[in-house]
Amino acid sequence: MSMMTAEAPHANGTSRKEPFEFDVVDVTGMNTALVTDVQRTAPAGAVAKTLAARMELPQNVPWALRSDETAAYLDDSRAIGDQIETGSRVVLTPKSHLGMR
């Protein structure tokens, strides 16, 4: 029995095997990086935490990703590849609620 399996296309119609890369910039604009090693299927929340660690940003802060194109926050629990296209740019932002009651 062969162990090779055909992989289903991803929810946005692209193959999971197609290269997936995007630019990330932290909220200060000081750190930028090209991300090429993240799977499309990884949840955006886990990706944000990973990128914060990679940029040596504090790990005791919750981080979120925001699309630079639409300004919308990515849903932490959904796959990043379902929310941005390859070649996109995202902003790594601390989750904060300032002064609002």
């Binding site: 062969s2 299927t41 990884a42 990973t50």
Partner: protein, 273 residues
Amino acid sequence: MNTTAPDNISGQWQDVLRRFGFVAEAATYRCNGTLFKIDGQWATLELHSEQPPRYPLNLASSPPALWKWVDDGSCPRRVFELPLTILSLEHHDEFAVAEQTPAFDACLAWALETAQTKVAEDWQPPSRQLVESWIPQGQLTVQCGAFVRQGELIVDPTHCLVRFPILQTLPPDLPQARLRWLEELLHEAQNGWRMVRFGFARNTDATPVIAELNFTGAPHHIIEHLLLTGLDGLRWAVLALVETAELLADTTIKSQALEISPIPPSTQPKEQT
């Protein structure tokens, strides 16, 4: 030959083993080159009679189910390991028409069937939706410092497995010595982590390094427990290997120590991934 029945195997299980053709020998049971033994909290079936493949880390040629090649220095062998908690499961399904086969009997039959590198023809995997419903939220994601890995559930008519990439791509210019170190890392993991299989999975555009749990052919009434137990181990294994594997595959990091191959040239496998 000592035919005294092993005292760490219950009488009920010994009856089942005898029914499958096993004969007691010292602290084990044997049947046509297959050895059954209990080691701590694990039951192990071992096959010593086969010639190991030239390249055991090639997952494309791996047998189905939990069988995997290990070589801890004593002798290369195929092993199939299950926790005793799974084998002792008592299943009560109020909707089942017929009485369920006890977990031990069903698992032994599964292991022996798949030892022949085939799956029972009438075996059907549980539905994907059902398997997905068993996995707690977030358990297919492993976040480890600056790396994140997303596991994949593969359920189709002939497969039921969970796999995580350890490395997503293998640089084409990876020096041979680094590749040997990576193989050594995977060999060590293969010998040490129960149930989880490690290796290289060829695909069209890369050679990812993978850790997987293969439940193909497993009796339906134990898959949920097996998946949850195995997934926990699989996640720990991925967590333990990712950073080292990334370091070994990063050709921008120079290290004189890693320029020396971990195994003598004469024992290096011929086939490349």
